[in-house]
């Protein structure tokens, strides 16, 4: 036995090069990670995907029937509108800020300050953000009161902060910094030689933006805007903290369908709605990735 076992032990002790003749396969070391992700990420996703097609009686598409109902359609339309508008506003102002940063000293304090602040603010959201805007523009908010003292009433037609318009405003607060973070690398990829080459070839500022910088930045801008769209589309906490009742956007609708306080919870329908959301986000993210690749090739 000893005689036979010895070479086997030698083999195991050897550096694991080549991956042949091992007592335990090398991938075992990576197994815990994949197992964990399987249980806490893939399984819940599968539960949602599967649950969407199961109702009380078994396999069925009935859960998707709710997609015909007025309030569901409205919630998704509202979500698309909210995400699109906040993404476009965020993209435009974020791009302006990014440009202002990119044209400054690349190692300056100022740039570090802005990029640090954007790193923080892009993650800022949820309850805290909702409260910040309530403290600013709520009925007793700082600006609301100040304007009142000066004879201006911004809420003459109702407190729009708690409506879709309010969500647009609040969402721009994290959309702009996110835009700066994702768009700045593209702007940094723009080389000053390109402007100078344009000029020496006879082009002016307009030609430069129209034929050179514009086309070069367009994929990055569009891609970033899509990312912002997905970002707003899947956001829940901020809307939940700002709007106590109703399901004016898709994420609130899913949450309310999932845990209705009046006992109308329906996991099957919630899964169906969640699946629709995840499909929309996934499509947007795939487009974003495609555009990001093109940007990387041009602006490296």
């Amino acid at each position: 036995m000893t005689v036979i076992e010895r070479p086997l032990v030698e083999t195991v002790r050897r550096p694991l090069r080549g991956g042949t003749r091992l007592a335990t396969p090398q991938w075992i070391a990576a197994a815990p990670f994949f197992l964990y992700v399987g249980i806490f990420l893939l399984l819940p996703t599968a539960i949602v995907a599967g649950g969407a097609f199961i109702d009380g009686k078994g396999l069925s598409l009935s859960n998707f029937a709710t997609m015909n109902q007025r309030f569901v359609i409205n919630a998704f339309i509202n979500s698309v509108v909210l995400s699109a508008i906040s993404a476009i506003i965020g993209a435009v102002f974020g791009a302006l800020l990014a440009y202002a940063v990119a044209t400054g000293n690349p190692n300056g304090v100022f740039r570090r300050l802005v990029s640090s602040a954007c790193g923080v603010l892009a993650q800022f959201g949820g309850v805290t953000l909702a409260f910040a805007f309530i403290a600013t523009l709520g009925s007793a908010g700082l600006i609301t009161l100040w304007l009142q003292q000066h004879g201006m009433r911004i809420y003459a037609n109702g407190v729009w902060l708690y409506q879709l318009r309010g969500l647009v405003l609040v969402y721009t607060y994290f959309q702009i910094p996110l835009m700066v973070l994702v768009f700045l690398p593209a702007l940094d990829g723009i080389r000053p030689q390109w402007r100078e080459a344009t000029e020496s070839l006879g082009g002016g500022t307009w030609h430069y933006w129209r034929y050179v910088a514009g086309p070069l930045l367009a994929p990055a801008f569009l891609g970033s805007t899509l990312l912002l769209f997905a970002n707003a589309f899947s956001a829940y906490a901020t809307a939940a903290a700002l709007i106590n009742q109703g399901s004016i956007v898709a994420s609130l609708l899913i949450a309310n369908t999932l845990t209705s306080e009046v006992g109308l919870a329906n996991p099957g329908i919630a899964s169906a709605l969640a699946l629709v959301m995840v499909v929309i986000v996934a499509i947007v993210m795939v487009l974003y990735t495609v555009l990001q690749r093109r940007t990387a090739r041009w602006l490296q």
Partner: protein
């Protein structure tokens, strides 16, 4: 660049900074203002709301729970990610794409969707294992994956893991020593980054805790908001400041030596679409 254009550019930059600076600072300033208001309009400014934080047991419990979750999540994240990432880089490069895909997947799956699938799993865990709020750490680890993976990936990309490992192995180190004493010390900044980001994510999380009926810091603030607006806003400011400090430490001190660009790593920006915090 002509002087005229340079001047115009400067004016444009200053204008952008002033306008957007005001937009971003006003709400935070307003929160401070709100949290120091007296009971009535004419009452003097007071720090009562801030002092009340420590005397609200529910709040204290929620803060402790969130801090506990932050620690557990960070530790779990390190245990799960660091050895696996190093091992995959050294020995299983064909798994790189699979791991990257899984780690970035939470970006595409909104937290609100995840929670719909988690509900039955947590129901089962509550009945059969434990119903402590700390079990949230399991799913929070998933939420921090994209952030942590990206931070660690940047750290690993900046060092030549293979050569370091081969050098250490040829000097007689076993694999545990290679990881703990050779590779990990060389990516300490990345590990710090990953931890700080994880802590920030956990402290800011609302969606999952709320929908699974756990009271963490953010849920507690939201609940308190209905009863005592000034106190809840004071806590919100405090938690924001805490996150701010963490992330400023991260962006200033935690700068990796070799700057790896977004395009180099090929990873999308984390925290973008997952909406974990929002």
């Amino acid at each position: 660049m002509s002087r005229n254009r340079r001047l115009k550019l400067q004016i444009f930059r200053v204008a952008v900074f002033l306008v957007l600076g005001a937009f971003f600072l006003l709400p935070i300033g307003a929160m401070f203002e709100f949290s120091t208001r007296g009971v009535t309009d004419t009452a003097p400014r007071t720090l009562n709301a801030w002092l009340t934080i420590g005397q609200t047991p529910d709040l204290v419990a929620a803060i402790l729970a969130s801090l506990g979750l932050a620690v557990l999540t960070s530790l779990g994240m390190l245990l799960l990610l660091v050895p696996t990432m190093i091992w995959i880089r050294l020995r299983l490069p064909y798994l790189t794409r699979a791991m990257e895909f899984l780690c970035l997947l939470p970006l595409t799956i909104p937290a609100i969707v995840l929670v719909a699938g988690l509900a039955p799993i947590y129901l089962w865990m509550n009945l059969n294992i434990n119903d402590s709020i700390l079990t949230l750490a399991f799913v929070y680890l998933i939420l921090v994956l994209p952030f942590a993976y990206r931070a660690l990936f940047t750290g690993l990309a900046a060092i030549d893991v293979k050569t370091l490992a081969e050098a250490a192995r040829s000097l007689g180190a076993n694999w545990g020593t290679v990881m703990l004493r050779v590779i990990v010390p060389n990516m300490s900044v990345a590990i710090l980054n990953a931890c700080l980001l994880s802590v920030a994510v956990v402290l800011g999380e609302f969606t999952i805790a709320n929908l699974l009926n756990y009271v963490n810091l953010q849920v507690a603030i939201a609940l308190l908001g209905r009863a005592n607006a000034t106190v809840s806003i004071a806590v919100a400011v405090a938690s924001l400041l805490f996150a701010f400090i963490l992330l400023v430490i991260l962006s200033f001190a935690g700068r990796p030596r070799a700057r790896v660009h977004l395009e180099d790593t090929g990873l999308p920006y984390p925290g973008a679409a997952g909406g974990g915090l929002r």
